[in-house]
Amino acid sequence: MAIFVLLALVPPVAHAFDNAFLITMFNRAVIYAVAAVGLDLIIGFGGMVSFGHAAFFGIGAYTAGILGTHAFDGSDFIFGWTGSNDAFVVWPLAMLVAAFFGLIIGLISLRTSGVYFIMITLAFAQLFYFFFVSLSQYGGADGLSLWDRNVIPGLDLYDRDTFYYLCFAILLAVWFLLSRLVGSRFGRVVIGCKQNERRMRALGYDPLLYKLTAFCISAAIGGLAGALIANHSEFVSPGLLHWSRSGELMVIVILGGLGTLVGPIYGALALFLMEESLVSFTEHWQVILGPVLILVVVFFRGGIVGFLSGAGKTTVKSGGDHG
């Protein structure tokens, strides 16, 4: 778990080098890692390749953005409620709203599998993307500024270190809870459904029920990460829901190591470090990212985590004698 020590050391190291921007950059990676760890639950363990996870990320972010806007100007949001800036209200709501749409999207998408599932989740995400683009009341395509960061009594979320450690603690919690979950009874059922759904049905399980639950949990985590990114950039825009953002989340999971939970944390760090270092050479830094990703997929099926633990080879080998 070297990665957690490394992440914990980011603020002091950044201060030592008098480069506070590093904290901001790593903070972004930490928030994306939260969403990606959640995504790994359904892709890596559930075999549900969701290509629309940015929808939940964006829904969570807009929940924070919209509630914050009303809290700022005191206008009615709904039923006379003027929104909120309280993190203990906004963040759980972001999770709840994302989980709710996860339920609807999942109920429809999970009737399909394989390529169709990928396409339907993508289509739903695009639907939400265009919904927010046309939502002119909340900035439309221009996006929406967050007037204030959310409030937690006793904490100053405007303080770089405080906000960083808060996001880091949330990442730790999400990672730990999901690690427990995949080893639980529920986790075993979900993993079984990934391997052989028909067999699971013959054993008395209704796969849809368990897959849908996992999908909603993953969506809720995506929503939480969205609320965090809204606070981080103090700005929300439809770009958060763009399909390329869903792709980015998938890249993070695959790069770090599918079905490992800790892998996406490595993946998020690797992606953002690559972006930061390559962008100084060329603005088309993805030209280099693409080949790197291909190499990782071809030679290190276990991603960064597989490579670090030396399990990359065995993964390829065991992948070969399926069927």
Partner: protein
């Protein structure tokens, strides 16, 4: 087992199933009794697997009924029937390749417990589940392979594992779709011995190609041709039946 021996615990009544113009199941009625092995035989394409799928709930018949334990279960899904006590195995080996042998059985044992929405406690350390899984593995002769990856088992062992998974459901009815398929003589003999041992406690439907095994194990044999049952009765009845010889045995089986 509250079933009086001799009373059918599982029954299909006049099942019909068509695909376009093809009658896959044509007025099929079949009765399974606890303590008896009922073999379903027939040439390739006779509709044996289609029939079994309707009994297990994977396919819904166009017409007819399926009864279990005095209840009409025609509209019940496969998972529902499995939870009630109708277990099946598959013609093509269906196990969880990435689980260990013990985990394969454990996930089946867990199905009986019904507590699947537990998100916290490690199932790998659930003594109740693990002990039951180990006992089942011993029963089918896989006790020594518990921690092996299921994909690494031999074909015959995988078939044994499937039986253990079906037994884990504590079923009353076992629907076995060619459990000996692809096995060598030694392995199929072992499996036949296992089925003989299991027989008193279950009502077993055995879809099987190997006539030696069928004649050895079956109490009742039903012969399916083009989706319709052309004969049903004891081993001797069916062996001596002219229609059967014409339609089926003459094909060179």
């Amino acid at each position: 087992m509250d079933n009086v021996q001799g009373r059918p615990v599982f029954e299909a009544r006049n099942l019909y199933k068509s695909y376009g113009g093809l009658r896959a199941t044509d007025d099929l009625s079949i009765q399974l009794e606890t303590g008896k092995i009922h073999a379903l035989i027939g040439p390739n394409g006779a509709g044996k697997t289609t029939a079994l799928s309707q009994l297990s709930g994977e396919l819904r018949p166009d017409d007819g009924q399926v009864w279990f334990d005095g209840q009409d279960i025609t509209r019940f899904s496969m998972p529902w029937r499995a939870r009630m006590g109708v277990a099946r195995s598959f013609q093509i080996t269906a196990i969880f390749d990435d689980f260990t042998v013990a985990e394969n059985v454990a996930v089946a044992v867990q199905s009986r417990t019904r507590h699947h929405f537990s998100f916290w406690r490690a199932v790998s350390r659930d003594a109740g589940i693990n002990q039951r899984a180990m006992a089942l593995l011993e029963q089918v002769g896989l006790g020594g392979f518990a921690s092996r990856r299921a994909a690494d088992l031999s074909h015959g062992q995988k078939r044994q594992l499937e039986i253990a998974m079906a037994l884990a459901l504590e079923p009353k009815v076992l629907l076995l779709d060619e459990p000996m398929a692809g096995m060598g003589p030694t392995e199929s003999n072992q499996l036949a011995e296992l089925l003989e041992k299991l027989k008193p406690d279950f009502a077993i439907l055995l879809v099987e190609h190997d006539m030696n095994i069928v004649f050895r194990l079956a109490d009742v044999i039903s012969v399916l041709v083009n989706g319709a049952m052309i004969a049903s009765g004891s081993v001797d009845d069916v062996r001596d039946n002219e229609d059967v010889q014409k339609a089926y045995l003459a094909e060179g089986y």
